[in-house]
């Protein structure tokens, strides 16, 4: 059932665009399609506004940033997951394999404990996420190389250290105010997305994705194993470094604005592989489109399913895991 022809892959990109358009109409404040088109067009064409200011606020300050950021995060996590699964030659790898989410989670919790200011939380999450990956990388280096197995193991070590530190922060946090804030943050949500979040988090994520896309064919070579890649003239250390830096930039930025969102980076690459095959040259763009669509869909559910928002991290697993189980049964593995 794999799609081989290029137009079919291009068609995949219509999915997130269509979903994004539909997402504007969801929410407590009703907006008609015509108004939406006119409001959006008014930014480019000279259209006299005959709609209330509230409409513009809802569209540009609330729904647009949330839609764009959600798509960006979904795309970023999916592309990073696909790149890491290729590089580690392991279908069970997700973008947090090197400890980035554990580090970022600890950083955010520490930020909440110390100040509670959203800029501080974001900065702490970002820096500790990057720190965790840097530690994993340094620990895994032997004889100027970073064997894949060593990377995975040191990622586990660093991840568990930061999980323990996170527990420590939770343990000492004030149980009435700080602890719930930490717990909710860790569940992941886009509810508080502002324009500022979009401006600070989207550019590094887009840069990271572009970096991964630019070396996507070479990830095929990495997936043949270190030795085979080197004998084919690949500077494996440089290439691995680029992939790790890009994935970390994407994942740490994503986690720092929306908390921990699991499953996207693990499942979407599998869905992509079932649709377009294992070649990373096509798989990465396909994962990008699928990831953007998936997180947008989940976020729409998160904000409309009940009157209170459901945390994203819960929904990605509750919807994603059974779907993944279904796909696994249907394709008997898919990557084989």
């Amino acid at each position: 059932m794999t799609i081989k022809r290029k137009p079919a892959v291009a068609l995949l990109f219509l999915l997130p665009i269509a979903l994004a358009f539909l997402s504007f109409f969801l929410g407590r404040y009703p907006i008609t399609p015509l108004t939406l088109i006119r409001v959006l067009a008014s930014r480019v064409f000279p259209i006299e506004p005959d709609w209330p200011d509230t409409v513009e606020t809802v569209i540009f300050n609330i729904r647009l940033p949330r839609i764009l950021l959600g798509m960006c995060i979904g795309a970023g996590l999916a592309v990073s997951g696909a790149a890491f699964q290729g590089m580690f030659q392991n279908p069970l790898v997700s973008p947090d394999i090197l400890g980035v989410t554990a580090g970022a989670g600890f950083g955010a919790a520490l930020g909440i404990l110390l100040s509670g200011n959203s800029v501080t939380i974001q900065l702490f999450a970002l820096s500790f996420g990057i720190l965790a990956v840097a530690l994993s990388y340094i620990i895994s280096r032997v004889y100027k190389t970073t064997p894949t197995l060593m990377l995975v193991l040191s990622g586990m070590v660093v991840g568990s250290i930061f999980s323990a530190l996170l527990s420590l922060v939770k343990y000492v946090a004030d149980p009435n105010q700080k602890l719930p804030a930490i717990v909710f943050w860790l569940m992941g949500s886009l509810a508080a997305t502002s324009k500022r979040d979009l401006v600070t988090a989207a550019p590094p994520m887009i840069l990271g994705m572009l970096g991964l896309l630019s070396v996507r064919w070479r990830i095929n070579l990495l997936s043949m194993g270190d030795e085979a890649a080197r004998s084919l003239g690949v500077k494996t250390e440089l290439l691995k470094g680029i992939v790790i830096v890009c994935c970390t930039t994407v994942t740490a930025s994503a986690v720092s604005v929306c908390g921990i969102i699991g499953w996207v980076g693990l499942v979407i690459p599998h869905v992509g592989r079932m649709l377009v095959g294992p070649d990373h040259k096509i798989l990465l763009p396909a994962s990008l489109a699928l990831g953007a669509s998936y997180l947008l869909l989940i976020d729409n559910l998160a904000r409309t399913l009940t009157s209170a928002e459901i945390p994203l991290g819960i929904l990605t697993a509750i919807v994603g895991a059974p779907f993944f189980a279904f796909m696994l049964r249907k394709t008997q593995g898919g990557w084989q």
């Binding site: 030659q89 996507r216 095929n220 004998s231 084919l232 003239g233 070649d279």
Partner: protein, 275 residues
């Protein structure tokens, strides 16, 4: 006499700096030559091939490629001149055979580039050469062991190298596929003047295709030279501890070829009782 394509001068290697895997090895490979490395498991054949390819650094000595030290060439330059066919590649992802072969174009492509139409044509020609043209769209994980080995040889050919290093290309294969691989290697070395170094477990294969043979034992060459002179009953007994007879057979074309007949040792166990 032409200058050798590939030379190893006084090479030694050790993983831990104490125990040498091999030491004081000299080797030279000329254009169009097939050089076979014979030796028991663990004698250092594969390590030697890795050092020749630059995958492992020599402790002492140097590898010289067409008069240039291997150290002075970068990975891409090496891969354009020398290709390594690995023993087996366990793949997780089911790339198509063509995609696998296309990876051989990597040393000819810029860092951010992916294979062009021309690269695909070169890959297809390589598949044609090894007789796998029909399998181009098949997943690599679904073809037979012999076909995989041929696909890896095709990938090496797509690198357009002058030197081919093969690590036990015929181990895990059935009799027919062993001969198919040997014929392919022989044909390539004749038709394209490829120089080949091949590690093998089969002395017969060395007799069939090679110009030169080195017998390797515990990290050094115990004998080196023309295949039919080096591969003797005494040498094989010394190398593998197995009694053999080397016999000459006249084949259908009237040519004399050597064959190796192992002799079973006296059983030390208890004979089963006759019923």
């Amino acid at each position: 006499m032409m200058a050798p394509r590939l030379c190893l001068e006084d090479g030694a290697f050790s993983y831990d700096g104490r125990r040498a895997i091999f030491s004081a090895l000299n080797l030279s490979l000329h254009s169009g030559e097939i050089f076979c490395l014979l030796g028991p498991n663990g004698c250092g054949k594969t390590t030697l091939l890795r050092c020749l390819n630059g995958l492992l650094p020599l402790a002492t000595g140097k590898v010289v490629l067409d008069g240039q030290g291997l150290d002075s060439l970068n990975e891409m330059e090496r891969a354009r001149r020398m290709a390594f066919v690995f023993q087996e590649e366990n793949l997780l992802f089911s790339y198509s055979v063509l995609e696998i072969v296309r990876m051989g174009r990597a040393p000819h492509l810029g860092f951010f580039a992916s294979p062009s139409k021309k690269d695909t044509q070169i890959a297809e020609a390589a598949l044609e050469t090894v007789g796998l043209a029909d399998l181009r769209e098949k997943p690599y994980t679904e073809i037979s062991g012999g076909e995989r080995q041929l696909a890896l040889i095709a990938r090496a050919l797509a690198q357009e190298p002058e030197i081919l290093l093969l690590d036990e290309p015929t181990s895990h294969l059935d009799f027919g596929n062993q001969m198919l691989i040997l014929e392919t290697i022989h044909r390539l070395s004749e038709a394209r003047n490829l120089s080949v170094i091949m590690a093998t477990h089969f002395p017969e294969h060395a007799l069939l295709v090679s110009n030169k043979v080195a017998l390797m034992k515990a990290g050094s060459f115990v004998a080196e030279g023309q295949a039919d002179r080096v591969i003797t009953a005494a040498a094989l007994k010394d190398l593998y501890g197995v009694a053999v007879e080397v016999v000459s057979v006249t084949n259908g074309d009237g040519a004399t070829v050597k064959a190796i007949v192992p002799v079973l040792r006296e059983s030390s166990g208890v004979e089963p009782q006759a019923a």
